[in-house]
Amino acid sequence: MTFDVLVEVRLRPGIADPPGATIERSLPALGFEEVAGVSVGKAIRFRLDAPDETTARARVDELCRRFLTNPVMEDAAVTLVPSADADAAVTG
């Protein structure tokens, strides 16, 4: 099976987020006083082949731990769905 994967890399709670703070500080000047809690992370998308979803999640978790995040300051939220891409489904 082929899965579409979205990994959102986020700063862990308590880690300073200068880009998020800078964006938030600029918002009142644009008339968005009601916005709070801005944080900036990364979105990484890819496809992954695996026999089943459990295996796919385990592989993505390992990839996040070893490479896509730095556990000292980041964690990841993983969204994983069977790929809708017909070609990928055939070849996968």
């Binding site: 880690i15 300073a16 200068p18 800078t22 990364k42 490479f67 000292v72 300051m73």
Partner: protein
């Protein structure tokens, strides 16, 4: 003569400065391309500054998987002196050879200036020849230089006397004003300031020379 290997990744840009500065303290430095699986016959290794692999994903995140890094890690495990400068410091933290991580600067600015740092411990490969309390003027040049680590790691660094350099005036938000740390074995040192850029009076400071001398084990003179 002490032979020093200077690791070069695509995007590294301080390697020639480091080779030049090491020459001034009597070492024979050679460049080591990142695809090399071995280090050859070297007595010390420097991972210099720059933007290894474009700093994509995170500074050092991709560089740590370059073939040469396995050899660098083994060299460090065997007690070999290993220095990471700026981007090299980031690479060594990503590789797990030094604890913690380097985050974006507090004020979200790329900082290019000269700062004063104090030698906090002489018990490292980089600071063995510089008395504790010595204030050095060294250039910094980074966007992601704010050192951070867990509370436990910080406590460990403090109690083990592994914080080797502190900023007198914290330029980037680093926890506990940390500018440089060393490994448990004290042979691996990482710092954000550039000692190689303080290696000639024409550069405005020669304060980097005693540090590099210590690294190569040469006598002061």
């Amino acid at each position: 003569m002490t032979r020093v290997g200077v690791v070069v990744f695509p995007g590294t840009n301080c390697e020639h400065d480091v080779v030049e500065a090491l020459g001034r303290v009597g070492a024979d430095a050679e460049l080591l391309w990142h695809t090399q699986p071995t280090l050859g016959d070297v007595d010390a290794v420097v991972v210099p500054g720059g933007f290894a692999h474009g700093d994509y994903l995170r500074p050092g995140a991709i560089a740590r998987f370059s073939p040469v890094m396995a050899a660098v890690a083994e060299f460090a495990r065997n007690g070999g002196p290993l220095l990471g400068i700026c981007n090299g410091f980031q690479v060594l933290t990503e590789a797990g050879l030094l604890p913690g991580a380097l985050q974006k600067n507090r004020d979200l600015r790329f900082i290019c200036t000269t700062v004063a740092v104090r030698v906090e411990s002489t018990r490292s490969a980089l600071t063995a020849g510089t008395p504790e309390g010595t204030v050095l003027r060294l250039p910094i040049n980074h966007f992601e230089g704010s050192y951070l680590c867990s509370r436990e790691t910080l406590a460990e660094l403090r109690s083990d006397d592994r914080i080797v350099l502190r900023y007198l005036e914290n330029p980037n938000g680093s926890i506990d004003d940390i500018a440089g740390i060393c490994s448990e074995g004290r042979n691996v040192v990482g710092l954000m300031p550039h000692p190689e850029r303080a290696s000639d009076v024409l550069l405005g400071s020669t304060d980097g020379l005693p540090l590099l001398r210590s690294l190569v084990g040469a006598t002061v003179g």
